[in-house]
Symmetry: C2
Subunit: 333 residues, 2 copies
DNA sequence: AGCAAACCAGTAAGCGGTTACAAATACATA
DNA sequence: TATGTATTTGTAACCGCTTACTGGTTTGCT
């Protein structure tokens, strides 16, 4: 009892016009007389006709789908971006094909190829490490790709971010102003440019301007996991850190709770600043001061940028930096 | 300089075979002589040929894409499910087209139609309120649809869940065992069957067995937002509640922090149990006791079920209930 | 009225694959 | 060697839609 699908032919027959005409009204082509249009629309309505997007895609070479590559949707930083992407995509009649990559080079490439095979019209990539392989794969396709909340030191692709160097620098300065001289820098994988080339730089610059020597023992590289943050307390104490700049909220929550559990009073004895201003910053106790980033907007702007690229509009500014801010909450004095 | 794509024809020509043969080797059809296969594979390799999934989809009427409708990816409960779905989908060579619905009837229906127009092979639906309109739309298509972490009282679609009635009942019993007699039930929209028909029922049953009368004033309906939980403190105090069963972790975090901010010591003066065992339960202080649900697995199993349905395998058990548990943390005594 | 321009609608050739069916080749057996 | 069968491969129709091109109607203007 396969319910057979009705095609453009059925509509054409029923409306006594050619399929070309039906196609025209479906696509809003203006070269159709008003009453013909009406007649066709009525039949479409009556037959509950819905054009087959696959056939359309094949014929027009546009699928109105964009691929979204994300390390892990479960991470609220990325899901926030994804939400912005989806909303704007919907606005422009695109669908998103979402794929988790676990920030794994191999997966990223296989996922990318997969997406390209599906003929997506564009791709939004999140994940901060752009390996040479990946960059090469990016280059090999003519499908526009934009990076969201992710930097590539070589800037081969359009991207939407905030100025991480400056943001970190300013927050570290706040910490310095409070009299801290031993400020820890707790970040994700240094293999990611965003950490090693940008945020760390901001941290160093702030120290430098304050005339405080950079101390490697105050730098902690992690995998951005809550649990890792939790377990950092002893090292932090041993390093005599009195404050920390953390690059991920989950990680920061771990650090916060770990220190608190160790009996350290925050912010009195230890100040902490995090980076992404996700919901988590409000949920922890004490709440966490943070660099504020317009996460949703980063996604939204990236998608908007992508639509322009897909329409072959010329975009002047391919490297968008959105404004950031600082939100003081209870983890700083 | 449009980099032209290479098609199955190019491969056929280059390998001196017909396109049918190429198609066969690409699809792993066994009716191909070993050396022909080799020859074709070499050309595919050499030309870096990747079959056009859209054309394939049109010809074979299978897109290897499944639609995933989710209220909001930003909610960690749903993103956890989504992650399970994606992983299993990838395992079975499917891609997921993700769409946020904001749990809004209108959007859900438009998104559904959209997905169907894209010819997805199946759909996973999350969102607990299945309106008649939506149910009708579900019924109208022959594309298999499974509900993940979402119930429909009328059970018109296969689904994967835990036994919410029982889970809530057991947790409330724990609270009762601790001597609480005024236990609040704080939930999301009652328009969602999962709250009004299942969890509330579990709550009532537990009370009944304990011989405690049901008191409407102890039931709080919200929209599952952190902020709402935060603001519930006065009402909770006024209702003389000494414990609460909460149906969403973000909401619970709000309640927890609200009460704490109001000077109530948890769990000494107020006990709290939440429902989804997401990362949040570990991040709050005190940590939150929770019903444990295999969120990732619910998504994974739902997707696996869907693959069976898409393959037209007969599935005996269309209403999967996964095991749940209880995790005692610091928000209960 | 006559003719060009503007407007509408139809025809048919793809888009890049899958697949039923036919044809060709290989292999086995008598 | 002839014949039957099994195995490979090729041919071509079709999936449902877009769109270039063509031709028929209207409309506007002299």
């Amino acid at each position: 009892m396969e319910k057979q699908t009705i095609t453009i032919y059925d509509v054409a027959r029923e409306a006594n016009v050619s399929m070309a005409t039906v196609s025209r009204v479906v696509n809003g082509n203006t070269n159709v007389k008003a009453d013909t249009r009406k007649k066709v629309m009525d039949v479409i309505e009556k037959l509950d006709y819905r054009p087959n997007a696959v056939a359309r895609g094949l014929a027009s070479k546009k699928t109105t789908s964009v691929g979204v590559i994300v390390p892990d949707v479960t991470n609220i930083y990325f899901s926030s971006l994804a939400r912005g992407i989806d909303d704007v995509a919907t606005m422009y009649k695109y669908n998103i094909i979402l794929a988790n990559s676990d920030a794994n080079d191999q997966k990223e490439i296989s996922v990318l190829n997969n997406l390209l095979a599906k003929q997506v019209d564009g791709i939004i990539f999140m994940g901060n490490e752009i390996t040479d392989n990946l960059r090469a794969a990016f280059q090999r396709t003519r499908v526009p790709i934009v990076l969201a909340g992710s930097v590539d030191e070589q800037n081969t692709n359009p991207s939407v971010n905030i100025d991480y160097v400056k943001a970190v620098k300013e927050e570290v300065k706040v910490l310095l102003d409070h009299g801290n001289t031993r400020i820890a820098f707790i970040c994700g994988p240094m293999s990611q440019a965003i950490n090693s080339k940008f945020r760390l730089l901001g941290y160093k610059e702030a120290l430098k301007e304050a005339g405080i020597p950079y101390d490697e023992n105050l730098v902690f590289e992690t995998n951005n996991k809550y649990r890792e943050g939790l377990e950092l307390k002893d090292q932090l104490i041993e390093a005599k850190a009195t404050a920390a700049m953390v690059t991920d909220d989950e990680l920061a929550a771990g650090v916060l709770n770990g220190m608190t559990d160790a009996g350290i009073v925050i912010p009195k004895q230890f100040e902490l600043v995090t980076s992404n201003d996700t919901k988590l910053t409000e949920i922890t106790r004490p709440t966490m001061s943070s660099i504020t980033q317009p996460l949703y907007d980063i996604g939204a702007v990236a998608m908007r940028l992508l639509t322009k690229l897909m329409d072959k509009e010329t975009v002047e500014d391919k490297e968008v930096l959105l404004p950031f801010g600082m939100m003081k909450r209870d983890s700083t004095r």
